[in-house]
Symmetry: C2
Amino acid sequence: MTAAKTRARSGGRGRPSKATGLDLKETILDSAEGLFARHGFHGVTTRQVAAEAGVDTALIHYYFGAKRELFDAVFLRRAEILNQARSVSMNAYVETFGARMTVEGVITAFIDPLLRISQEGGGGWKSYFALVAQVNNTPVWGGETMARFFDPVVHQLVDTLKIVRPDAEYRDLYWCYQFLTGSMMLALSETGRIDSLSEGVCHSSDLEAVRARLFAYCAAGFEAVVARSGKA
Amino acid sequence: MTAAKTRARSGGRGRPSKATGLDLKETILDSAEGLFARHGFHGVTTRQVAAEAGVDTALIHYYFGAKRELFDAVFLRRAEILNQARSVSMNAYVETFGARMTVEGVITAFIDPLLRISQEGGGGWKSYFALVAQVNNTPVWGGETMARFFDPVVHQLVDTLKIVRPDAEYRDLYWCYQFLTGSMMLALSETGRIDSLSEGVCHSSDLEAVRARLFAYCAAGFEAVVARSGKA
DNA sequence: GCCTTTTTTCACCAGGTGGTGAAAAGTGTA
DNA sequence: TACACTTTTCACCACCTGGTGAAAAAAGGC
């Protein structure tokens, strides 16, 4: 259902509460988010966003300026929530387990908040993750955008892993992170590819299946790389 | 350097050999490939492709039809080479090692041809891998495109892994493949993200570093998932 | 040479693009 | 009421989009 229709029925009881001001700003962001996630930055026009939000084209420019600024606003909105959730999760893990931390535990603390948010956070989050996955694999400005929004929490992960495995080299840690993020983003974006590939055995929407495998997979891969580097 | 300029100097000896006919068709594909890889399907116009190829816009439609057909032609050209290289590599591995096959060996036979081609195959291949990585993370038509071009060789991988670990469930195999392909495509697309993230410690162009880690990483992750599933 | 076929260019179209400026409508305050 | 301010709409612009049809040029067969 388009945001326009959603706004139209507007609740049905009490004040009609026509969306206005900041409400409308969020509505525009929601529509833009869904469209950007499905078609990419260049595959979406400001007119499409306006139409789905039930809003005049000029209003988008009034609130956000240029199209690229709208995109950044979409990207930023949830990045802050994400970063805080991950930071809190990792800090809690460090404080709870201290010297008994494991690689798999750290990785779980890093990834699981995203899975939980995707499962419990409502539909907008699925679009958002698909969007981030696309940006993550975009050359030119993709790397710069990811760095701008997500570098700090990644450094927190790497530093924590370095505490758990003090002998590991940073080169290995960063490469393992890259492998991890490739797997993680592809799983979170739920492209549907695994559904057809596996002929119905797996479903990309089944994040519980991801949870049951991804942490162990990444942790084992990580340990193997560190071990191999140590003996080499 | 643009293809237009490349064509202009045209060799310098013997027949002037102005590119024509099928040559020109390849030139257009080269230009399209580079542009699509950098900016995505919607981020490129047929005029840009024509300009970089040093060719009239109408010629593109003469040879390839609609823009989307041009994109598919770009995608198909190298997919066939890729699929054959991978299939040959895996068959050779199976025949050479037979009952002594290992998970890491199979995965190496599956991934290494791509690394080698990227290292030795010339610049066009780097663009191509970046392109495939983008499509792999594209919802809507990305999954369908990947399936159309790459499903058979993936099934060959999964079936071979099933021989090496007969007790493994297909569900686990497919999920592990998804994790693997996410890591692999991100590494092959050389987005430059790891360069800035690691502050110069790692370079995404360093495929030798990938080779030294990715096979072991994926194999260990794979074994861990299978083992966990077996005992659960 | 001539004729046919393929390749390349040119001029053009209908519709869509991001973006703007001014007017209009709404909102709060006194 | 009148006023200032914010939010929303409308009409519009210059430019670009994918794509087409016919003419021109080149290549090949005889």
